[in-house]
């Protein structure tokens, strides 16, 4: 990336993702009725940061939408607006719109102009009086009463210091606030206060930031009245004045209970564009020399020392900087010192133990993000590749030692090798864990999908999520998003009934779709459950006959009818709606899931709803496999599809119309000659002496795979074949064996797909 602007944009989009996620979390919490001012503040900050960033890149659509959003949030902050479910919905809608707009800037999504307007209008309607963003208005409620005497040397000059248009009003507002701020210096002389000095650089304004909201936010931290002072001494004479340069700085004196870390957090997003200093001291013209100075909290990146320190923390991005703890530890003792002369003053941070810093904002403390390092995925992939190589060379080394019979008379070597193996394994697992991430962000995206789908369908639907912390390999999550999107849309469109029908059925008017994730014996299980009317089996059946998927007189069990939904080219919606029915059906979903090594199944109860269950491997990187030998080639079958192995006698194998079947416990199972199916050799005449593996494909059909031998069972690292060669019929991927040879991982569904036409044990075989 040579273009620095492109790099910045990239970073901005990454940040937006995090901010949007944060915003959604906050809004959903608010929607749940959690009453916490901090949530509103945090949501406001997120929107504000997006607006600021977008402004810097000239993305006016985002800026505008974020602007009305921010204004509305601000009214909530100031108490002028009451948060009710409707408003929460509007906020969520606003957030969705921002997501779409950002996506549009980033390429891909298409923004709907009507929606932009509708949301903007809705925001304007809820906002009490003025519709335009007017910082001075917002300032009023903040301003504290009391007489103030502040010198205002050059009223106009500060305006020139900042960016011409946007910031022009700010200094005035701040100065206006000055007038209102009480002058408590007199009474509280000598009392330590948290002194904050804020000096924006010109880049601060270039990025579309605005000093006033930051200052206001700082003032709100303090319970005591705050004094704000603008330092205009840096402003040069008019001749030297650069209209685009920043000359102003502000000093704020907060009550001492506010910790510097909290102040710095406010400036977290702009810390490169301004100088910010927060220290405890005495507000006096000639800063009392005895006043203890506290160093600005050092910004440190604290990495978890333990590798297994919750790898999922990576999701909690946003804050890579964890100065909270450090700042507290450093500053507190000195705070105590500062108070010493005035023992009667009760100040919270006086608690001496640094391990438990006093928290003026407990809510914020609780959501303190875990320290995180942001790493390009490609680097992690490279690391994973290298570790897989290490695993291979480790096993090559072990077999080399064994083949030379070195291990028998050398205990050191043996234990050394054991340790090496254990370490390699642990290293592999830890590296894999880096790529694992909670499904939360994807679930949130689904929330948005459900809302927009509900809006289009004119239904009331609520998406409930469970198990958001469940961790899955990032690559799995990425590929799961599309099928899941489709399933959610389906659930809204086809699953949940409209309000009248629901009311008539005695159900709550609002439909519920539950999306949950959990780990189950080495796999991750996702369910999408709606409380709708269930599958209309009669309609499905009729449609299937219409489409020629099944014969008119076919006798199908309920479960088989449900399976028809997965048949290619099937869609139950009578009309092609905007939501689902885009030509992709559940068959595509099923294919996608299968391609991920997962399975999808569904259960439907009339009148009660439908549940789809997806079971997936935790990672796409390893697989439990059975190593088999076919025509001199070692191949791998996924262990999950192998039921049992047997060595048939001549009389077990029967011939039906040229096809071989094997008699296993009372039923006949078609035989698949793997060597011939892969084109390695001519079909075998006799299977005597071969090994038969009973294998079940995704359609529940059983086959007996004839192979030459079983070599081993082990976990294999999956290597894509697609990148360098392309897709091969019957082969899912490749792996590297202990001797460095490549073995192909066979695709059971693919291999049996051709055979299925012949074997056809169920009426669905042709369709599914």
């Amino acid at each position: 990336m040579s273009d620095p602007m492109a790099e910045l944009r990239e970073t901005f989009f990454l940040e937006c993702d995090e901010l949007l996620e944060k915003l959604e979390t906050d809004l959903l919490a608010l929607e749940q009725g959690v009453e916490d001012e901090e949530l509103v503040n945090s949501a406001f900050r997120a929107v504000h940061s997006i607006k600021g960033g977008a402004g810097a890149f000239g993305m006016s659509a985002i800026t505008d939408s974020a602007h009305v959003f921010e204004t509305a949030l601000d009214h909530v902050r100031s108490g002028e607006l009451k948060l009710d479910p409707d408003l929460c919905q509007l906020f969520l809608r606003g957030k969705d719109l921002l997501t779409v707009l950002i996506g549009a800037e980033n390429g891909g999504l298409e923004a709907d102009a009507a929606e932009i307007e509708a949301v903007a209008k809705a925001f304007e309607e809820v906002c009490p009086e003025e519709e335009a963003f007017d910082p001075s208005e917002i300032f009023k409620p903040v301003a504290v009463g009391g007489a103030a005497e502040i010198e205002l040397p050059e009223l106009e000059l500060p305006a020139l210091g900042g960016e011409p248009e946007e910031t022009a009003a700010d200094p005035l507002d701040i100065l206006a606030q000055f007038e209102a701020a009480p002058d408590e210096e007199g009474e509280e002389e000598g009392e330590p206060q948290l002194l904050v000095r804020f000096k924006p650089k010109s880049s601060f304004f270039e990025r579309g930031n605005d000093a006033a909201p930051f200052i206001r936010e700082v003032t709100e931290l303090s319970e005591e009245p705050v004094t704000v002072e603008a330092d205009v001494s840096g402003v040069p004479g008019f001749a030297e004045l650069d209209p685009e340069a920043a000359y102003l700085s502000w000093s704020l004196a907060l009550d001492v209970t506010v910790r510097p870390g909290v102040v710095e957090e406010i400036f977290e997003f702009v810390d490169e564009d301004c100088e910010i200093e927060a220290k405890v001291g005495v507000v006096e013209a000639a800063e009392a020399p005895s006043a203890p100075e506290i160093e600005m909290a050092e910004v440190t990146i604290a990495l978890p020392s333990e590798p297994d320190d919750e790898p999922g923390a990576s999701e909690e991005a946003g804050g890579f900087i964890d100065f909270e703890a450090e700042a507290a530890a450093e500053s507190e003792p000195e705070v105590v010192a500062a108070e010493a002369p005035e023992p009667e003053l009760e100040v919270k941070p006086a608690e001496p133990e640094p391990a438990k810093p006093a928290a003026p904002a407990p809510a914020r403390q609780a959501v303190q993000p875990k320290p995180v390092v942001r790493v390009e995925l490609a680097r992690v992939d490279r690391l994973i590749n290298l570790v897989s190589e290490l695993v291979i060379s480790q096993s090559m080394l072990t077999s080399a030692v064994e083949s030379h019979h070195l291990s028998t008379d050398n205990r050191d070597l043996l234990s050394g090798l054991d340790e090496f193996r254990a370490l390699t394994r642990e290293l592999q697992e830890s590296v894999m864990a880096i790529r694992a991430e909670p499904v939360r962000s994807m679930f949130m995206r689904m929330g948005q999908i459900a809302r927009s789908a509900a809006q289009v369908c004119g239904k009331k639907v609520r998406l409930v999520t469970e198990g958001e912390q469940t961790e899955v390999d990032k690559t799995v999550i990425e590929r799961l998003a599309e099928p899941l999107t489709h399933m959610i849309r389906n659930a809204v469109d086809h699953g949940v009934e409209d309000t009248e029908k629901r009311t008539a059925a005695g159900k709550p008017p609002e439909g519920t779709i539950k999306l949950s994730a959990e780990h189950q014996s080495g796999r991750v299980v996702l369910t999408v459950k709606d409380d709708g009317g269930g599958v209309n089996r009669e309609a499905v059946r009729k449609k299937a006959i219409e489409k020629g998927i099944i014969a008119e007189d076919a006798q199908l069990a309920d479960a088989e009818i449900d399976q028809l939904l997965f048949a290619p080219g099937f869609s139950t919606a009578a009309t092609i709606s905007q939501v689902s029915g885009r030509g992709v059906g559940m068959d595509v979903v099923k294919r996608e899931i299968n391609a991920l090594g997962g399975r999808i199944s569904m259960v439907s109860a009339p009148g009660e709803g439908t549940t789809f269950t997806i079971s997936l491997p935790l990672t796409l990187a390893v697989l439990d496999g059975m190593l088999i030998n076919v025509a001199g080639q070692t191949s791998v079958l996924p262990l999950s599809s192998v039921a049992e192995s047997l060595r048939p006698e001549a009389e077990d194998i029967q011939n039906i119309g040229g096809e071989q079947v094997i008699f296993v416990r009372g039923s006949f199972v078609p035989v698949l000659d793997v060597g011939a199916a892969l084109g390695y050799r001519e079909p075998l005449e006799s299977f005597v002496g071969k090994v038969m593996l009973l294998v079940e494909n995704d359609h529940g059909q059983e086959f007996a795979f004839a192979v030459d031998d079983i070599v081993d069972q082990r976990q294999v690292v999956i290597k894509g074949l697609q990148d360098n060669y392309g897709r091969i019929q019957g082969v899912a991927a490749a792996t590297i064996l202990g001797d460095g040879q490549i073995a192909l991982i066979l695709d059971v569904n693919d291999l049996t797909a051709d055979a299925g036409m012949v074997a056809a044990p169920s009426p669905l075989a042709g369709a599914a």
Binding site: Q633, T634, Y725, G726, I728, I742, L744
Partner: protein
């Protein structure tokens, strides 16, 4: 397929020359990633016969193309003396099974001659130029063309 030969400026191209069935061929050195000895390849189902299979190249799955077979000769009987030229064309990594690497040389663009108008389609498709050098003809292989259709689509 032949590219026009510029007469005014002479561009020098570094090539790796190698032997297949006693004939001299060469490929642009910029496409060559490394040269390594033959290791047995794992066969790929349903692949054309000149795709000898895949080998492990430090963790990557590397398809091997038997250049001789691709050019219409019979399949190479690979031994330890055979060589794999690991090449990359448009992001696609693959290995060329050849008999031996003979030289690294630099060829001026003036030396490149269009492939003679011969009857063999295969030759005209896979050989983009010929170079006359010391009484010998060196065939300049068009790497992009020798990939099987399936692989070309991947790239």
């Amino acid at each position: 397929m032949a590219e026009p030969v510029t007469e005014h400026t002479q561009f020098m191209t570094e090539v790796i020359a190698f032997k297949v069935h006693n004939d001299e061929y060469c490929v642009d050195i910029m496409s060559v990633r490394e040269i390594r000895g033959w290791t047995p390849a794992t066969r790929l189902p349903h692949a054309p016969s000149y795709v000898r299979g895949v080998i492990n190249l430090r963790g990557a799955v590397l398809p091997i193309i038997d250049l001789g077979a691709r050019l219409g000769f019979e399949l190479t009987e690979p031994s330890e003396r055979n060589v794999i030229i690991v090449a990359q064309v448009e992001g696609q990594l693959f290995g060329l099974l050849v008999d031996a690497v003979s030289d690294i040389m630099s060829i001026g663009s003036d030396d490149l001659q269009p492939t003679p108008n011969i009857g063999s389609d295969q030759a005209r498709t896979f050989i983009k130029n010929v170079v006359a050098r010391e009484e010998q003809m060196i065939r300049f292989v068009d790497l992009k063309q020798i990939l099987p259709q399936q692989m070309a689509q991947v790239a």
